[in-house]
């Protein structure tokens, strides 16, 4: 495998230098697959290590054309070259007032992450996710999701119910939102169309052109009110 890795690296690194952007990206994709198999890439147990590692791979892809093998083995030279950058990025993690990524995007320019976002929890996993999310939601008295779902379910002003396909009042946005958005899992368009005796494409067009804008406007106004 060592020899296969070595010859594959020589080939792929050369291909990463080509001018054609699509071909270069394809070669970079291949290079990244090979890098993750290289023995000896520097690792630490710091919880933010992925950030240092990802930043390093961005640098590697940008600068691979400057890479020169410094030992007989391209694989070993590449590890030395990558680790040379990665160790500095890891060192950054231990700087106390590290503002690591000034360009980090927050969920919305107007709303910073709330407190819950700042509690690091490395213990999360797929099997515990349902319980943990249920707990987080229980800590909030009213979530935006509940407010939107309640509004749709009740449809007090009948806006959703009264927006229907001509001659098919039963095929209205209220009924469709309940079945296509709130039902878990959502029902299929074909199943609803059959039940309501409407053509599939007609139902989909109605959903897209009439119901979606209406639902988005409801959702936006509730979000706006709660902010």
């Amino acid at each position: 495998m060592e020899q296969e890795l070595e010859s594959e690296l020589i080939k792929v690194i050369a291909e990463c230098r080509q001018e054609n952007l699509t071909k270069r990206r394809t070669s970079l994709n291949r290079l990244l697959m090979l890098i993750q198999q290289l023995p000896g890439i520097y690792r630490v147990s710091h919880q933010d290590y992925p950030e240092a590692y990802n930043r390093t791979l961005i640098w590697v892809c940008k600068n691979i054309s400057n890479f020169k093998a410094t030992t007989e083995s391209v694989a070993k030279s590449l590890v030395i070259w990558i680790n040379g950058y990665l160790k500095w990025r890891v060192r950054d993690l231990y700087v106390a007032d590290n503002s690591y990524d000034p360009n980090r995007i927050y969920p919305n320019a107007k709303e910073d992450l709330d407190l819950i976002a700042n509690i690091a929890d490395p213990q999360i996993s797929l099997s515990l996710l349902d319980t943990q999310i249920a707990q987080m939601q229980a800590e909030k008295s009213e979530t935006i999701g509940k407010a939107i779902a309640n509004h749709i379910e009740q449809d007090i002003d009948k806006n959703l119910t009264e927006t229907f396909i001509r001659k098919h009042p039963q095929c209205n946005c209220h009924c469709l939102a309940l079945r296509l958005l709130l039902a878990q899992p959502p029902q299929k368009i074909s199943q609803i169309a059959r039940e309501l005796e409407v053509n599939n494409q007609t139902l989909y067009s109605h959903w897209k052109q009439k119901c979606l804008p209406l639902l988005q406007s409801i959702s936006q106004s509730i979000t706006h009110e709660t902010n």
Binding site: M1, E4, L5, T22, R25, T26, L28, N29, L32, M33, Q36, Q37, Q47, D48, Y49, P50, E51, Y53, N54, L57, I58, C61, I105, P107, N108, A109, I116, A117, A120, D121, I124, S125, L126, L129, D130, I133, A134, M136, Q137, T143, I144, G145, I148, A149, L180, L181, Q184, P186, K188, I189, Q201, Y204, W207, K208, L212, L215, Q216, S219, I222, T223
Partner: protein, 303 residues
């Protein structure tokens, strides 16, 4: 031991922070879990695109909007000047990628990632072209996934889309030749007697290989400026090379900017041309998709 042919991307703690916050806003745990995993998929793909040097705009993507993610099952990522990429996740053991109704249009493609039990990383699994998805597509089997690299070809195609308004200013790319040159010696249909002040006709040779045969057709596009807002288009297809007839079964489709096929024509055994006529408004985009024997080629245009 073989070289591994997939790529994993470590998820940064910040991805979990976002996911936690977004999940806590939802109506119930099931919806919260959907939002949590969608957020991880989007963050993983965004990191991957940063590696490769593809710009993305997470802040303006619908999944980053509080009101949209509460309503819809979305994991979109805007690629500026390119389009919207959907990031769908698979869990271990799942054999098909579910495509939510709200993500079946207006996508340049779908990048599929697998999430492992610890949720520490995503693995890139494959790519789904928008051509594999229509409004009735509930899911795509993992056996139908394309290689991840096909995303880069899609980006290239979209970026190379041809602005047909330039033709009216006599600006042409070299592949689109005057019709007298490209169809020299052939019988053409409906192309004579046009007002050259408002009409431009150009043709292009399209070549590909299917069933071990080299194939060639000639696409001819006639555009006529109706007004500053609208352009009439006439698309014709002729046999290329030495063929007298179009390949039987050759399908040509016009796909609108919502990725929906809006008209099509299919060549029969002895057709020596086929034609489609339509009108586009200023600012509209469309694709000409050609299909034969499972091979599909797409040309991108804007008006």
């Amino acid at each position: 031991m073989k070289l591994i042919k997939s790529l994993t991307i470590p998820l940064e703690p910040q991805a979990h922070n976002y996911a936690r916050q977004f999940a806590s806003e939802q109506a119930n745990p099931a919806k919260g879990k959907q939002v949590y995993l969608n957020t991880l998929a989007v963050c993983g793909v965004q990191t991957y695109l940063k590696y490769i040097g593809v710009r993305s705009n997470l802040a303006d993507s619908s999944c980053w909007s509080k009101s949209d993610r509460a309503l819809f099952n979305l994991a979109d990522l805007i690629l500026p000047n390119i389009g919207r990429l959907e990031c769908r996740y698979l869990l271990l053991g799942e054999e098909e990628v579910k495509i939510p109704l709200e993500a079946r249009e207006d996508r340049i493609g779908y990048l599929v990632v697998q999430l492992e039990a610890e949720l520490k990383q995503v693995e890139l699994v494959g790519f789904i072209s928008p051509k594999q998805v229509d409004f009735a597509t509930e899911a795509i089997s993992i056996s139908q996934l394309q290689p991840v690299e096909n995303l880069f070809q899609t980006i290239e195609q979209v970026q190379n889309k041809l602005d047909l308004r330039q033709w009216l200013d006599n600006i042409f790319t070299s592949e689109w030749q005057p019709v007298e040159t490209i169809l020299a010696g052939r019988i053409t249909r409906s192309l004579a007697n046009v007002d050259l002040a408002t009409t431009v006709i150009r043709g292009k040779t399209v070549q590909w290989r299917s069933n071990n045969l080299d194939r060639e057709v000639i696409l001819v596009l006639r555009i006529t400026e109706q007004s500053s807002q609208a352009i009439d288009l006439c698309l014709q297809m002729y046999p290329g090379g030495n063929s007298s007839y179009l390949p039987a079964g050759m399908l040509i489709e016009i796909i609108d900017q919502s990725n929906l096929p809006c008209m099509s024509a299919q060549a029969k055994d002895t057709d020596d041309w086929i034609q489609l006529e339509f009108t586009c408004q200023q600012g509209e985009e469309f694709q000409i998709a050609m299909q034969l024997d499972g091979v599909s080629l797409v040309e991108y245009f804007s008006i």
